[in-house]
Symmetry: C2
Subunit: 363 residues, 2 copies
């Protein structure tokens, strides 16, 4: 217990953060339904897909629409949306505004799309300081410009005090998918190398450090960043990247599991190869969290053909958003649908999809 970061918080009540084991098939909405883990997947499978209709392709954060009929052969448009409810609104390294934009830009980037326009809808709580609204709106605008796109349409609703939490932001985005580019979670193949664009866990722990009565002196900043430029750089090195995923809610564990299941491959990760900042490790061991399940918003996982892996890795490292990129593992035809981590001692463990919610309202 000596390597934990100094905690200067007051009113600390760790019992209040504990998340009870989620009930399966509960009658009401639980926090775990928003986790990005197994309960979210069940909610989507049992309620949303039957109600809304099942898409033709794989379930990705962005839909890819073939507009050939309207625009001629090869015209493909990506379309995505994200609701953002992160608490607090401002955290080390970012705020709900840039997080929302980066989340949407990154969902587009994960299908290989270049973002062309965003929408932004606010649900404001009566009594919220207008200076807070302005600060968040400026972060939205600045982040959109930084990602090379812009907000072209929006909406604002106001709810009575006590019926919201300051503000919620929902962004949607559209992007163009270049010809020949088709990264999908179901295209990973045995032999593919697993690349990770940088250290994990900073976003989730940075948000946690400023709430629940905590005041960590970690100096850790959220990794929130747009990944569209990084993906463009990768695609120049290899237009046929097989799969891309940003490990947001549910973290690296959820991202890898999604790909393993969709592609029917096994994914073997070298535990020691996954970069976890010391502060993230320390806070996670203190609170019993798994860094592989902590949310990120400026990282990606790429599954690429072995013969292109070194070039793609070099392209990632040459981009400011990917300087910490590493190869962390490989796809196999053993253990289809499973993610397996191998320790430095050669022992292995199965990395499961998180069931409930480690850190509610992290994005």
């Amino acid at each position: 217990m000596t390597d934990h970061p100094p905690m200067t918080g007051h009113d600390l009540d760790p019992a209040s953060w504990s998340c009870p084991a989620p009930v399966r098939n509960p009658p009401t909405v639980l926090l775990g339904h928003g986790s990005g883990g197994a309960m979210t997947a069940e909610l989507i499978e049992q309620i949303f897909l039957p109600a809304l209709g099942r898409p033709d392709g794989p379930l990705t954060d962005s839909a890819v629409l073939d507009l050939s009929a309207a625009f001629g052969a090869g015209g493909r448009l990506a379309f995505t949306t994200d609701a953002h409810v992160v608490r607090p609104l401002f955290f080390p390294g970012g705020c709900i505004g840039d997080l929302a934009v980066n989340g949407t830009v990154n969902d587009l980037a994960m299908v290989g799309a270049r973002p062309i326009a965003l929408s932004c809808a606010f649900v404001l709580e009566e009594g919220t300081d207008l200076a807070v609204v302005e600060r968040v709106a400026r972060a939205v605008g600045d982040a959109a410009r930084a990602a090379g796109t812009r907000v072209v349409t929006g909406d604002t609703k106001v709810v009575e005090a006590g019926r919201g939490d300051g503000l919620y932001v929902t962004t949607a985005g559209i992007g163009l998918v270049p010809r020949g580019v088709d990264p999908r979670p179901d295209r990973a193949a045995p032999g593919d190398v697993v690349l990770l664009s940088g250290p994990i866990g900073a976003h989730g722990i940075a948000v946690l450090s400023v709430r629940e009565g905590m005041d960590f002196s970690t100096g850790l900043l959220s990794d929130t960043a747009p990944l569209a430029g990084l993906v463009e750089a990768m695609l120049r090195a290899d237009p046929d990247v097989h799969a891309l995923r940003d490990p947001t809610r549910g973290g690296l564990a959820a991202a890898l599991n999604e790909i393993a299941v969709a592609s029917g491959v096994g994914i073997e990760i070298e535990d020691a190869a996954v970069p976890v900042p010391d502060q993230v490790s320390a806070v996670c061991s203190l609170l019993g969290l798994d860094p592989w399940c902590v949310a990120n918003e400026g990282r990606l996982v790429a599954l690429v053909r072995e013969e292109r892996a070194q070039d793609v890795l070099a392209a990632l490292r040459a981009h400011p958003a990917g300087v910490g990129a590493v190869a962390v593992g490989r796809c196999t035809d053993r253990d289809p649908g499973l993610v397996v981590a191998r320790s430095a001692y050669g022992s292995t463990r199965i990395v499961d999809l998180p069931l409930g919610e480690q850190l509610p309202r992290i994005c």
Copy 2:
């Protein structure tokens, strides 16, 4: 006071519905900022446009993007978003789910676009009955299919009990704008005829009838309906419809004012020509509301060239969503930027943009 509908409500506390005169330039968010009236316009003008960037074209609910560079000449895409916070979630004639879809489909239709895909993001409050979530999701799916489109992407977040209100739904939509079609609020011209697709006020009063402790026996149903098919029918009669607007928040008064200001024309409306259902009139006179400011979600206003007006009116009336269509007025070069209503006795009054909020959380 004898023509009011019977009210069987209990716990009636009319004082609690009163909306205090909104403060101009307040330091915090007020309910009036969500009204769709002058305070919303100020919020957009003073905070959102400077932060997010001002669009090149007029401020419409849908942005129209020229994708000629990507897709060849004439490729235009409409893009829009709407947050929905209506209370209660279910009301006579609809629920938050179909209202969200219709709101987004109609925003696309108002720039002449045919909807091709929707997104749908939920913010769920912990403890909400999953049966409610399912019922709303089914309404979303059914409404999308009824409007000839579908939900292709979505997101779900969960907030703690007490930080939401059951659920909020934010939809976004994209649509294709046919060549030669360009209805815009700034294209109305003197001589244009003002068409209204049916009676006004039913949506707002239907929602009001089931809240604030009321229980009107009006039998009034919300007018919530998709207008994309109606607009297609109109455009077949006249592809060059000058301006279209759905009178949602802020009602007919806000819709007409927006067009009058953007186009720099005067709009003269014959008071007696505007169809207001008896129940809407009765409830409005009881509560001191103006039916022209009450929200609708299945109505549109069209400004068309005089020589095409009869054909367009016939096309509206021939469509199920426009059977109650009427001509209600005309654009003039007098009183530019003003909406003027003329009574049956020849007297006139200026119809101003509502300042604050008559009926918060109506959509």
